[in-house]
C-alpha cells in the first residue's frame, strides 16, 4: 500500500473509534430518553434522561453475586456482549459512511457480529441453571432464528440498487438518490428492518423491557442471576446495541449529515446529525411503546412472518424498478 492509503486507513480508523466513543456516550441517554418520553406521555414525572448513567454507576459499586454452579460463561458472557456491541458501533456507518479497505461494513458481517452478542446472552441465561434463565434463553434464540430470514431478505432488497451489501455504500447511494428512499422497495425494506430491530433489541411488542412478571420475560429472564458490574456490562451492551441499530435505521431513512470525507467539520457535523437522529428515533420509540401491548410469545412468529413478507415485497418491488 502507498503512503496515501496508509494515511487514509489510519484516519478512517480514528474516525471509527471516535464513532464508538460517541455511541457509548449516547447509548445510555437513548435508553433514558425512551423511558422519559414514555413516562411523560403516561403522565408520570419520570426519572430523567440521565437515570441509566446513574444506574450504571450504582451497579458498578455493588458486589456482584454469582450463582453457585455457574461457569466462566457467567463472567465472560457480559463482556462478550459488550465487545460485540462495541464492534457493531465501529462497523455500522453512524457518524461517518467510510469503511476500512479490509474490513468493509458488510451487512452480513454486521449481522453475524450482532448474533455473536445474541448467543453470548443466550448462553449466559442457560448458565444460570434456573428455570427462568433457560426460558428466556430459549425464547430469545427462537425469536433470533425467526428474525434471520427477514434481515437477510431486507438486506438483499437494500443491496439490489447498489449492487453491494456494504452499508456505507448503501447509505451514500440513498443520499445521492433521494428518490430511492421513498421508492416502494426502500420503504418496505426499512419497515421490515424496523420490526427486526424491535425484535433483536427486545422492545415492545416482542418483549417488554420494563416487565416485572417473570413468566413474560425474555431479556430480563436471561439476566435474572446477573448482578453488580456483570449486569452493568450487559445493560451497557444492550443499550449500545439499541442505539447503533436505531442510528442505522436513522441513517437509512435520513441519510443526510453523515460524514463521507475525513475532515474535522464533516465528522463534527456527523456527530451532531447522528445524535439528533438517534434522539428522534428514541423519542418515537418511547412514544410508540405507550400505545403497544406485548404480543403473546406465540403471536410473535406472525409479526415476524409479516415483516418477512414486507421484505420479500421489497425485493419484488426493486425488481420491478430495476
Amino acid at each position: 500500500m502507498t503512503d496515501v492509503t496508509w494515511t487514509t486507513t489510519a484516519l478512517t480508523l480514528v474516525v471509527l473509534l471516535a464513532q464508538v466513543v460517541v455511541m457509548v456516550a449516547l447509548a445510555p441517554l437513548v435508553a433514558g430518553l425512551t423511558r422519559q418520553t414514555r413516562a411523560r406521555i403516561e403522565g408520570r414525572a419520570g426519572p430523567g434522561v440521565l437515570q441509566p448513567w446513574r444506574d450504571v454507576r450504582k451497579l458498578l459499586a455493588k458486589r456482584p453475586i454469582r450463582a453457585a454452579g455457574t461457569s466462566w460463561v457467567t463472567v465472560a458472557g457480559p463482556v462478550v456482549l459488550l465487545v460485540s456491541s462495541l464492534l457493531l458501533a465501529a462497523l455500522v456507518p453512524l457518524v461517518a459512511a467510510v469503511s476500512l479497505p479490509l474490513v468493509p461494513d458488510d451487512l452480513f458481517v454486521v449481522v453475524s457480529v450482532l448474533l455473536l452478542g445474541t448467543v453470548a446472552l443466550a448462553l449466559l441465561g442457560l448458565d444460570s441453571g434456573s428455570a427462568f434463565g433457560g426460558m428466556g434463553s430459549s425464547r430469545h434464540m427462537t425469536i433470533a432464528a425467526l428474525v434471520e430470514p427477514t434481515v437477510l431478505v431486507a438486506v438483499y432488497a437494500l443491496s439490489i440498487p447498489v449492487g453491494s451489501s456494504t452499508l456505507s455504500l448503501i447509505v451514500t447511494e440513498r443520499r445521492d438518490d433521494p428518490a430511492s428512499i421513498a421508492s416502494p422497495a426502500g420503504v418496505l425494506a426499512v419497515v421490515a428492518l424496523v420490526v427486526v430491530v424491535l425484535a433483536e433489541t427486545g422492545r415492545l411488542p416482542v418483549d417488554n423491557p420494563a416487565t416485572h412478571l417473570e413468566l413474560t420475560m425474555v431479556h430480563e429472564a436471561m439476566v435474572l442471576e446477573t448482578s453488580g458490574r456483570d449486569l452493568a456490562w450487559v445493560e451497557v451492551g444492550s443499550w449500545l446495541r439499541l442505539a447503533v441499530l436505531l442510528g442505522l435505521v436513522g441513517n437509512l431513512v435520513l441519510p443526510w449529515g453523515v460524514a463521507t470525507e475525513l475532515s474535522v467539520p464533516a465528522v463534527l457535523l456527523g456527530v451532531v446529525a447522528i445524535g439528533a437522529k438517534v434522539a428522534v428515533a428514541a423519542a418515537l420509540l418511547g412514544a410508540a411503546e405507550v400505545g403497544l401491548a406485548k404480543l403473546r410469545l406465540f403471536r410473535v412468529p406472525e409479526l415476524l412472518a409479516g415483516s418477512f413478507v414486507l421484505a420479500f415485497l421489497a425485493v419484488t418491488a426493486s425488481y420491478l424498478v430495476a
Binding site: A67, V83, D106, F108, L123, G134, L152, E225
Partner: protein, 664 residues
Amino acid sequence: MTPVVAGLAAEGALAVVALLAALLPGRRRNLLAGTACAALAAAGAVTGALALAGGTGVVRIPTALPLPPLTLAPDALGGLFILVAGAVGVLASVYAIGYAHGASASRTQWAALAVFLLGLQAVPAAADLVSFLLAWELMAAASAVLVLADQARNPQARRAATWYTVMTHVSFLLVLAGFAVLAGTTGGTAFDVLATADPTSAAAGVAFALLALGFAAKAGVIPLHVWLPLAHPEAPSHASALMSGAMVKMGGYGLLLVTLRLLPGGPTWWAVALVALGAASALFGILQASVATDVKRLLAYSTTENVGLIVLALGVALLLRGHHAPGAASAALVACLLLVVSHAAFKATLFLGAGSILHGTGERNLDRLGGLVREMPWTAAAFGVACLGAAALPVTAGFVAEWTLLQALIHAVRPSDALVAVAVPVALAVIALTAGLALVTFVKAYGIAFLARPRSVGALAAHESPASMRAALLLGAGAVVALGLAPGPVAEVLAGAADVGGVEAVGLAGLSLTGVDAVLDPVALLALAALVAIPAVGLVITLGRRLPARREALGWGCGAARTSPRMQYTATSYAEPLMRIFDDALQPTRDVEVTHVAESRYMAERVRYLQRVEDVIEVRLYRPLVAAADAVADRARRVQNGSIHRYLAFSFAALVVVLLVVAT
C-alpha cells in the same frame, strides 16, 4: 513414478500394515492399529494435497475380468476430496486409539476402519467407473460393518445397520444404473470417454437423474436421508465422524463429478432440481436437528442440513453459469467447496466431541447432561469452537463458507431471467432461516450439555477423555479456526480445484471475491475487534480489581432455584417454542397421562408427559414402502412350502423356459 503414484502406492502398503496391526492380540492393538490407520489417512492426505497442487499420476491395476485395467488418476477436484477424507481420517484414527473399547476395539472393527479409510480415499482417485464403483462398494461395506460394532448388545445398532445397508445399496444401484446409461451411449468405461456424452440428450438426462439420486442418497439429502439419523448415533463416534465428515462428502463429490466433469453444461432443470433438493434438505434437516435431544441424532440431522446447503450452492452455481452471471457462479462454486471443507472440519470435531461426552458420562441424551464444562474443559472448548462453526459465526470456517454463498446470491441479480429472479430470493430466505435455526440448535447443544447444573448422575460423575481423544478434538477445533482465519489462500486453492477464477487472497489471509467485488478479512476483523475490546476488557479488569470481589451464593431464580437441577430447562423444553411454531412440519406425538389420587378425582397424584418426534418422511414415505415390501415378500413365501415335489416342478418349468429361449 510421480509423487502422486508414490502416494497411492504408500496408501496401499499402509492399508496392508493397518490390516496386519488390526490382527494383533490384546491391548497393543489399539495403539498400533490406530497409528497405522492414522498413517494410512495421512498418506492419503498428502497424496490428495499433491494432486490438488497439480501433481498427476496414473496407477493401472490389471484384473482377471474382461475389462480394461482399474485406473486411479486423481485430478485436482479428486485431490481435494482425498485430502478432506485423509484429514478427517487422521483425526478419527488418533481419536480411536483412546476411544475404541470393548466391541468397537475388536479385530473386525479395526480392520473395517482400515478398509473404510482406503475406500474413502480411492473413490475420488478413480478415473474409470469400474474402479469408482469398486471403491464405492468398499467404502459402503466397511462402514456398514462399523455401524454394526455394538450389535451384540444393542438391537438398535442392528436396525440402524439394516437401514443403512439397504439405503447405501439403493444408492449403489442408482449410481450403477446411471453410469450404465452413460457407458451405453458413449461405449467406454473411463471417465474421459463418458465425458464425451452430449449433456442435452435424453440419455444424459436419464443418467443425470439416476446419478444425482444415487449420490444424494449417499450424501443424506432428503428424502433419501433416513439412514443418517439412525446410523450415526449407533456407530462408534470415530466412525460417525468419518461417515459424516468424509463419507457423505463423497456424495457431494459424485454430484460435482457429474455436473462439472462428465456432463458439463446440462439443461437448466438440473440446476433447478439441485437447488430445490438442497433447499428442502437444509430446512428439513435443521428443523429436525433443532428439536432433537439425542446429541448424535442432532448432529446427524445437522449433516442433512449442511449437505443440503452444499447441494444448494452447487445448484445455484450451475443455474447462474447458465444465465451468464459468471462472477456470481464461480463464487457459488467456491462457496460449495468451502462448505464441504468447513463441514468436514466442524462436523468431525462435533462427532468426536459427542463421543467424548458419551465416554465421560455414558449419556447421549441432552436432557440428562449439563455442567460438563467444569469436568471436561478440553472437550468443552473444542466442542464450543465447532458449535460456532456449525452456527456459522465469525471467525470460523462455517462463517466464511456461508458468507461466500450469500455474496454469490446477492450479486446474482438478473431480473430479466425470471427463473433466477425467483430462485435467488427464495434460496436466500431458506439459507437465512436455516442459519437462524442452526444458531438455536447449537446454542442448545452447547448450553444444555456443557453449562448449568448436571441433570443426571452420569453427568455429575463426568470425567475428561484420555490424551489421544483430546489431541484429535483440539486438532479439529484448530482446523475450524484456521480455516476461518485464513479463507483467502484456502479459497484460492479451492477455486483452482474447481477450475474457476474470481478469488484472490488479500491482506494477511483475507478473501476477496473479485467476480462480485466483496472482501472478507477475518484477521483484520479480529484486529478491529481487538482495538475496541482491549480498552473495554482493560476497563473491566481494572474495575474488577478495585471494586468489591465477586461472591458466590445460591442461585436466586425468583426464589425457586434451591430445588433440584431437574427444574432447569432441558433440551426438550428449550426447543418447545420451535416445536409449537413448526408443529405442522414436525408433527410430534404427545401423550399426557394423569393418575388421580384415590380419594379425589380433583387431585392428581402423578402426571406423565410424553412427547416424541419422528421423522415425517420416514413415517409417511418409508413405512408404507416397507409394509408393501413385507406384503410382497409374504405372498412370495407362499410358493415355498418345503415340498420337494414343488421344487422339482419349479426346476422343470425353468428348464422348459430355458429351452424355449434357446430354441427361438
